[in-house]
């Protein structure tokens, strides 16, 4: 369980990234922070593994203030997936996945076999283990990033727009893969994105953020769609432009769902 208690982040130049944010991320759930750039969502994520220390309030993991733990040990105990993958270009895929186990004293052999197992888990062929990151596609690199995050078997996964840099088709596949992994592993996931559809697909709960990490609305995708809290949320999820309102049209004896902008989105079975 991750708890944010009235956290704030003010920078010396007067910029306020986070004004006053409180949230509980329950164990084994996937909570998505949804906001545009400047909403402070990445700052919040980085507070959990102490890449950023809040200037006010506390962040707790299982009731322990993260500030009381050694940052390096804390980061090793938390899985972290970044947008660009953040892989080490001069190390093989297997060595990248094994980074943390090797640092925490696993034998080369154990770390290696664990790495191969994890590559299988994230849907990568073992033959890629000896490649270098630059020899993989963007989607494959992201999978390696996920495998690396899982290597130390952490309870918590932090995901910072992990699928933002891949094309929509691959992004969809990676999201499916994450949902499948999550149903197997039941990690506590804090996921940051600006992609509304991604948030609605992955989040057990979605937190819509205004600038300075003010919570505009929180709830399941269904709740947010059914009752957008205000015009900001309506605008952010596209409800104001008719993207979220569907009507039925009939074509060739079948009922087709069309949004108010006139784009066909699906068939009614």
């Amino acid at each position: 369980m991750i708890e944010f208690e009235h956290v704030a982040k003010h920078y010396p130049d007067g910029t306020v990234a986070v004004r006053d944010f409180s949230l509980t991320v329950p164990s084994h759930r996937c909570v998505v922070l949804l906001g545009s750039s400047g909403s402070g969502k990445t700052t919040l994520l980085r507070m959990v593994n102490r890449m950023v220390d809040p200037t006010g309030g506390r962040v707790l993991i299982d009731d322990a203030d993260v500030r009381d733990s050694d940052p390096v040990a804390l980061r090793r105990s938390i899985g972290y997936v970044l947008q660009s993958g953040g892989l080490l270009p001069h190390r093989t895929v297997a060595d990248n996945v094994a980074t943390v186990p090797l640092l925490t004293g696993a034998t080369r052999r154990a770390a290696r076999s664990r790495a191969l197992e994890l590559l299988g888990r994230v849907g990568l062929d073992e033959s890629l283990a000896q490649r270098y990151p630059a020899q993989l596609s963007g989607g494959q690199q992201q999978r390696v990033g996920v495998a690396r995050a899982l290597a130390a078997d952490p309870n918590i996964l932090l995901m910072d727009e992990p699928f933002g840099a891949v094309d929509p088709l691959v992004r969809r596949e990676l999201q499916d893969e994450l949902l499948r992994l999550q149903s197997d592993l039941g990690k506590t996931i804090l996921f940051v994105t600006h992609d509304v559809d991604e948030a609605f697909r992955l989040g057990d709960e979605v937190i819509v953020l205004r600038p300075q990490a003010e919570i505009a609305q929180r709830g399941t995708s269904v709740e947010i769609l059914a009752q957008p809290a205000d015009d900001f949320v309506r605008g952010f999820i596209g409800a104001d432009r008719g993207r979220r309102s569907l009507r039925l049209a009939t074509s060739g004896g079948r009922q087709v769902a069309v949004d108010l902008e006139g784009h066909a989105v699906g068939i009614l079975e």
Binding site: L82, P89, Y132
Partner: protein, 236 residues
């Protein structure tokens, strides 16, 4: 042309190639002075470069400072150190070390700064300590540029190490100073030729070292257009 053939004749004299004052002995001294001076420079330049490069701060100040340091005339500096330390090899060693610092330092910090900032950041985020980020991530990735700095520093020092003979009977510079004093220009030219040959040999050696460093930093040869690049599989 006749001077060149006189220089060759000077080199061909049998006694020159043996004994404690012979060409091989002086070449060894010259190399030793070069090596020690570069090492001394590195003792200052490498930690300072790592500090600036890892923090990604203060590079502008350091660049300005090193620009100034490059402009210091070595002969003037040697005279100054010579007056302070007296006759011997210490003053030229110190002068040459000062000469080596700017290139070495620039190599280290610009090598660090050339790394995509996201890579050390990500390494830190997954749990590498600052020391591990430097040793396991930044140094290997910066290695080609660092060796480039070493190459530039070594070439400058090996050529300027002739100044060692100004305050001591050390190295190949002896032929230049002795030749100048006795107007034996063949000897001066011969000495210069040996220094040039030595510089070229070091250049070849360091170029090979730089290629090896590139293999460490970029084992997949992705930044080498002639290198083989395995086909990108299109499935994710």
């Amino acid at each position: 042309m006749s001077l060149l053939s006189e220089a060759w004749a000077w080199l061909a004299v049998e006694g020159r190639w043996s004994g404690p004052a012979g060409i091989p002995a002086r070449t060894a001294q010259h190399l030793a002075v070069t090596g020690v001076a570069v090492l001394l420079g590195a003792v200052v330049a490498v930690p300072a470069g790592i500090l600036v490069g890892h923090a990604r701060r203060g590079a502008g100040w350091v660049a300005a400072l090193m620009g100034g340091a490059r402009a210091v005339p070595s002969l003037g500096l040697l005279t100054l150190f010579g007056l302070w330390l007296g006759i011997g090899v210490e003053a030229p060693l110190l002068t040459l070390a000062v000469l080596a610092v700017p290139s070495l330092l620039a190599g280290v910090y610009s090598g660090f700064l050339a790394i995509d900032e996201a890579i050390p950041q990500a390494a830190r985020a997954v749990g590498l300590s600052p020391g591990q980020v430097v040793v396991l991530v930044e140094l290997p990735l910066a290695l080609p540029v660092i060796v480039g700095g070493l190459r530039a520093a070594t070439l400058q020092v090996v050529a300027t190490a002739t100044l060692a003979a100004y305050t001591s009977d050390y190295g190949l510079g002896r032929y230049l100073f002795a030749g100048l004093k006795t107007r034996d220009y063949a000897q001066m030219l011969a000495g210069s030729l040996i220094v040039i040959a030595l510089a070229l040999a070091l250049e070849l050696l360091l170029a090979a070292l730089q290629r090896a460093a590139r293999r460490v930093a970029d084992p997949a040869h992705t930044s080498d257009p002639s290198g083989r690049r395995p086909s990108r599989k299109d499935h994710p």
